[in-house]
Amino acid sequence: MSGNTRRILVTVMTVISLVLAGCGGNYDGEADNGNVRSGEQTKDVHMIAYDWSEEGDLFARLYDDILLDFNGRKDLNTTLEVQRIPGEPYKTKLNAVIAANNAPDVFVTHASGIMKIYKEANRIQSLGEAFAADPAWKQRFYPNVLDLLTFDGEVYGVPVSITHTALFYNKGIFEKYGLKVPETYEELKAVSKVLASHGITPIAMGAKEPWVAALISQFAANRIGGNEPFDRIMKGNGTWEDPSFIQSGYVMQELAAMGAFPKDYLGLNYSGMTAMFNNGEAAMIVMGSWFIGQLLNSDSIYRDKIGVAKFPRFTNGKGNENAWLSHPDYNLVISSSAKDPESALAFLKLWSEPQYQARVAEETGKFPVAKTDVNLEKVPRLYKELNELVNDKSDMFMYYDVGLGPPLGDAYNTAIQAILAGKKPEEAFGDLQLLYERHN
């Protein structure tokens, strides 16, 4: 083919694709960074917030309403615009812009581990003064929710919701086989056996994303050894070779060996496993309470037949069923390079206001962190039930990966994944201990 013909071919193809891309794409015009949502714009200062929610989901819609409220305020000279980057890319993108000294003015992050890293790198502002100047604001928060955001006595972020991890189950399936919700580990195993024999996957668990498997192992460790082993890890003088951790590894292997997990669970990701639960292929799932919102938003026909329960206790374990795996799952921080910290603070404060905290509960199914009057008529049924269960709580412990932050937190998750793939728990935790010692 001559050069001319080739050039023509390429030009034609380019033109065609340009035209089609222009007509068809979901191109949001000024797409410099993902989807952009802006408010009214006649003010001088323009700030940017990063959000990891999926555009259009229940939480994002609440966020947009709060944004409207904020941007409509006459006493502030700043507008705020949110950019949504759902999923894995969020971390990479956020850290990249921070490293480039081009951080967003406000962004969401996990508490504890990673927030501490941002604080030590001087990337986020302390809210100590802000809280001191407005004690009423601080009082609004439930006791202890600010703990994981406090470093050296100062608070560095504002939690917006809290999540509790529980055992969700399909009441229809349980009734069909005459099963009772398991309250002990032994009962869990028994129930799983029955379900498996009828071809139902007992627990929807997909370990492709390591943190999912870690939910169960963290519960197991806490039920067996209580809070202390991990508390000591967090303080720096603990050991991963504590028997409760090693035992939790064996628990995972035991459950896997008896068929409690889906076939090929090592290759199953989050959406695959929730789909399994939502369409009745699996009877149980251990998940954080954000799942309530997702369930409501899905088209599952079992939506009204889902129940929630405490994660079973282990007879002879030091822990009990009233210790909850919880943490503030959505925390807003102000970047140290924020253009208008005062306004940013005002935005953060909006989230703790009673009417918005109530909406967190009523609309998104997540749990509020500040005192509010939740209209129990409006909240999702599952929220109500879980709320009652949580009222008994005696203790809270946090996700290990959130508590430790990267890279240790990720190493824990990977260790659990490796144990499920066959590695001996002693070995896996031994290696983890080596890593832990090097980092301390």
Partner: protein, 280 residues
């Protein structure tokens, strides 16, 4: 020839052709399977994975193009590839000309300098490039990606063009200079046209290399609207984890341009590749 030899011959021929045809099936069927299934609805794929579609759902392609952003990915890939090819061909031909035709002491040294690049795997430069581009704001931009692709394609291209320039005789250049042409005009007006086939070969290889590139594009493009096709395809699996039909449609559309280029240029590609490897 006796009968048994003939029979032997026929058996052997049949065996050979069977092997070849089985090979063709192994090679073409995955593609055909992909296309057939891209025209079914996802549920039909589960029920009838082998056969022809019952309803030919052309809308899967529309869906992949618009909602699935394949159109955007295609445009990005075209744009980035076209710009990269243009500059790689231009810059490397200039450099090869300088090294091969012009006379200066360090010419061989510089050639070797460029050749070092052929031994460097992109992974070794990836992190520093990412960190530095982040600092100057070139991450997540088409410009940044193009610059990296150009710089990565220079070594091999300069080497190939250097080889082709070796056959240009001095006399031709002398004649042009005597006629009053400057060296640059010689480069542009005489030498370049003479090595057009080589430029085409090089352009084709560049096209394949850039169009299909995954790792660098993956690291540098986090914005769905800026992604190239390979990255976009991998992006698909997270949001469309169970919507296979759209994914198949997108995959087929992604491979179509390379197949078209291949149909037109396969001779050039294959001979260029063989020549390159045989030369050592």
């Amino acid at each position: 020839m006796n009968m048994s030899y003939r029979a032997n011959h026929i058996i052997r021929k049949t065996a050979l052709y069977s092997v070849l045809c089985i090979g063709v099936v192994i090679y073409l069927y995955p593609l055909i399977w992909l296309v057939l299934n891209s025209l079914k609805s996802t549920s039909e794929i589960y029920l009838n994975p082998w056969g022809l579609p019952n309803n030919w759902k052309w809308e899967n392609y529309v869906q992949a193009w618009t909602v699935g952003k394949t159109g955007i990915y295609m445009f990005n890939s075209f744009f980035i590839t076209a710009v990269t090819i243009a500059f790689v061909v231009l810059l490397s031909s200039m450099a090869a000309f300088a090294i091969r035709i012009m006379k200066w002491k360090l010419s061989s040294t510089v050639l070797v300098y460029f050749l070092i690049g052929m031994m460097i795997p992109v992974h070794a430069t990836l992190i520093p490039l990412f960190v530095n581009f982040t600092k100057v704001g070139l991450v997540n931009s088409h410009l940044g990606l193009i610059l990296i692709y150009i710089s990565g394609g220079l070594s091999a291209t300069i080497l190939i063009l250097y080889g082709f320039l070796s056959v240009i005789q001095r006399e031709i250049i002398e004649a042009a200079v005597i006629d009053g042409s400057s060296m640059l005009k010689v480069y542009w007006g005489i030498v370049l046209p003479m090595i057009k086939p080589a430029l085409m070969t090089v352009a084709t290889f560049s096209f394949l290399g850039v169009w299909n590139e995954l790792l660098v594009a993956l690291v540098f493009m986090s914005d769905a609207n800026k992604m190239t096709l390979p990255v976009g395809l991998t992006n698909f699996t997270s949001t469309y984890s169970t919507d296979y039909s759209t994914l198949f449609a997108a995959t087929f559309m992604a491979t179509l341009p390379t197949i078209i280029i291949y149909i037109f240029f396969n001779n050039r590609i294959i001979s260029g590749m063989a020549a390159g490897a045989l030369k050592g």
